[in-house]
C-alpha cells in the first residue's frame, strides 16, 4: 500500500471535485474507459483522485454525465518540479549537490592510522602517499593488498597490517613487532674477568673456580673466576663460569663547559600562518608570506572529526619566530651548574646496581673552557664473562 502511494506521488496525481449532474454515471464512464480512480468520495462532497496525465481525458466523460470538474489539489513530483521551474537556483543547487556527492564518494576523504605505538603516523602516511594512497585518490585505483605488502617491506617493525575501506575513510590498522629479548649465552665455556680495576668487597660464585678472594685488589682484565673446574681425582671439566663480584672502584670523568659561546635568541618577531588542508591541498587562510632570515618554525595540525569520523578537512597553523645568534659569556658559577647537570646525567647512565660511595670534584679554567673533573668512588659488579676458545 505504501509503495502504491509512493508510485502515485512520483507520477503525480490530481484530486478533483465533481459538481452537478450524476457523479455515479461519471464514475461508471471513467471505469468503463479504463481510467482508474481512487479515494472516491460520495454525493455530498463528490470527487476522486486520478493520475495527473489522465485528468484531461475525464472532461469528455464529465460532459456526458452532465457534471463539471474542478481541481482541488495537485500532488507529486511533476508538480513540485513545475513549482521550482521559476527558481533555477534550487534546480542547479540540487544538481550540483548530487554531482559533488557522487564525485566525493568516489575518492578517499581521509586516512586513519591506528595501532602504531612506536611508528610515527606521519611516516606511515608519507609512505602511503608514495604508494598511491592519499586524501583525494580514487578509491577504485587504490590497490590495498599491494600497498600493505609494500609498507610491510618498508617498515620492518610492522608485523601485520591491513587497510580497510569504510565508505570514504581508509582505516590503516597496524600491529607492531614485539622485540625479541636477548638470549643469555649459557652453553659456551667461559671465564669471568674484571671489567675494571678495584678492590673486591663481596664474591658470589654460581659456577667455576674462584681465583681471587674478598679484599684482593684486581686490575681490569684480571681472571676472577676460572671456567676450568678440577675434581678430587685430578680430572678437569670446562664450565660456563658465572659470578657476581662486587668491588670498590674509582671512576674519573671530565666535563668541558665553554665559557664563551653563541646562543640563538628570539628577536621578538613572530608570525602565524594558517592554512586549510582539504583533500591534501593547502588553502592559505592568512596572507602572511614566508618570513625571511633565520627563523624557527613549529606547526600544529588540528584534524576535524564529526561524531568520531575523521573529515578530509584539517587546520594547519605554523608559528614562525625570528632568531639571531648572540655571543654569550657564561660565569664560572653558571658553568659549574651546567657541569653538575651533566654529572647527574652521567650518574644516571652508570651500570645498573652501581652505588656511589663518595665523590670529589675540582674545576679549572683552560682556554675559556671550564673543566670540571670528578672522581667517583663506586661499588659495582665488575664480573665480565669472557669466552674460552677451545680448539678441538
Amino acid at each position: 500500500m505504501f509503495s502504491l502511494q509512493i508510485t502515485r506521488w512520483i507520477l503525480g496525481y490530481v484530486r478533483f471535485s465533481v459538481i452537478g449532474g450524476s457523479p455515479e454515471r461519471f464514475f461508471s464512464y471513467c471505469a468503463r474507459s479504463g481510467i482508474i480512480l481512487w479515494n472516491i468520495s460520495s454525493r455530498s462532497d463528490s470527487g476522486a483522485c486520478v493520475s495527473a496525465g489522465l485528468y484531461r481525458n475525464l472532461r469528455f466523460m464529465a460532459r456526458k454525465a452532465g457534471c463539471r470538474l474542478r481541481v482541488r489539489e495537485r500532488r507529486g513530483v511533476p508538480f513540485l518540479l513545475r513549482r521550482t521551474r521559476t527558481h533555477r537556483g534550487i534546480v542547479f543547487g540540487t544538481a550540483a549537490f548530487t554531482v559533488i556527492l557522487i564525485l566525493l564518494s568516489l575518492h578517499v576523504w581521509c586516512i586513519d592510522v591506528t595501532g602504531n605505538t612506536t611508528l610515527d603516523s606521519r611516516a606511515v602516511l608519507s609512505a602511503l602517499t608514495e604508494n598511491g594512497l592519499y586524501p583525494g585518490a580514487r578509491i577504485s585505483d587504490v590497490d590495498t593488498k599491494r600497498i600493505e605488502q609494500k609498507l610491510i617491506l618498508m617498515f620492518p617493525k610492522i608485523r601485520w597490517m591491513t587497510i580497510n575501506t569504510q565508505g570514504c575513510t581508509m582505516q590503516v590498522c597496524i600491529q607492531e613487532k614485539t622485540e625479541r629479548p636477548e638470549i643469555e649465552q649459557e652453553s659456551g665455556v667461559c671465564n669471568v674477568k674484571a671489567a675494571s680495576t678495584g678492590q673486591i668487597v663481596a664474591i658470589r660464585i654460581f659456577s667455576g673456580t674462584a681465583q681471587v678472594k674478598k679484599g684482593d685488589a684486581v686490575v681490569e682484565g684480571q681472571l676472577l673466576v676460572s671456567g676450568v673446574v678440577e675434581d678430587e681425582f685430578g680430572g678437569s671439566t670446562f664450565v660456563h663460569a658465572k659470578a657476581e663480584i662486587i668491588a670498590e672502584t674509582s671512576r674519573s670523568c671530565e666535563f668541558r663547559i665553554p665559557l664563551r659561546r653563541s646562543v640563538r635568541q628570539s628577536t621578538g618577531f613572530t608570525a602565524v600562518r594558517r592554512s586549510l588542508r582539504l583533500f591534501g591541498a593547502n588553502i592559505p587562510l592568512t596572507l602572511t608570506g614566508k618570513p625571511k632570515g633565520d627563523c624557527d618554525v613549529s606547526g600544529t595540525q588540528t584534524d576535524v572529526r564529526l561524531f568520531g569520523t575523521l573529515l578530509p578537512v584539517s587546520l594547519y597553523e605554523e608559528d614562525w619566530t625570528g632568531m639571531r645568534t648572540v655571543p654569550v659569556t657564561v660565569t664560572r658559577q653558571q658553568a659549574v651548574a651546567e657541569a653538575k647537570k651533566d654529572l647527574a646525567e652521567y650518574e644516571k647512565n652508570l651500570p645498573q646496581g652501581t652505588k656511589i660511595l663518595s665523590s670529589s670534584a675540582s674545576d679549572r679554567t683552560e682556554k675559556e673552557t671550564l673543566i670540571y673533573s670528578v672522581t667517583l668512588k663506586c661499588e659495582e659488579n665488575i664480573a665480565k664473562e669472557s669466552e674460552i676458545l677451545i680448539k678441538s
Binding site: W38, N39, I40, S44, S46
Partner: protein, 82 residues
Amino acid sequence: MGNKNNLLARAGLGMPTHMEINGNTEAVVDGCSGVLEYDSDVVRIRTGKLVVRFTGRGLTIKCLTAESLVVTGFFTGIEFLV
C-alpha cells in the same frame, strides 16, 4: 480474463461475478459493470444482470476500475436485486 468478462457482460451473456467480503467493513467486487448510486449510506452497483446494494454507514468507494470496485465502510446490509 477481465476483458473477456467485460465483453461477455456487454454481450448480455451474463458474467461470473466474484465478491469478497472482509467482515462487515470491506467488499471487493470483481466483475462490476457500473455504479448506479453512491452515497455515504448506500452504494448500488451493477454486476451483469444483478444489482447489488450495500447499505451501511460511512460507505466509500476506495478504488474503481473497469471491472472491479472496492467498497469500504460499516455495512449493515447487502441486497441482491434481480
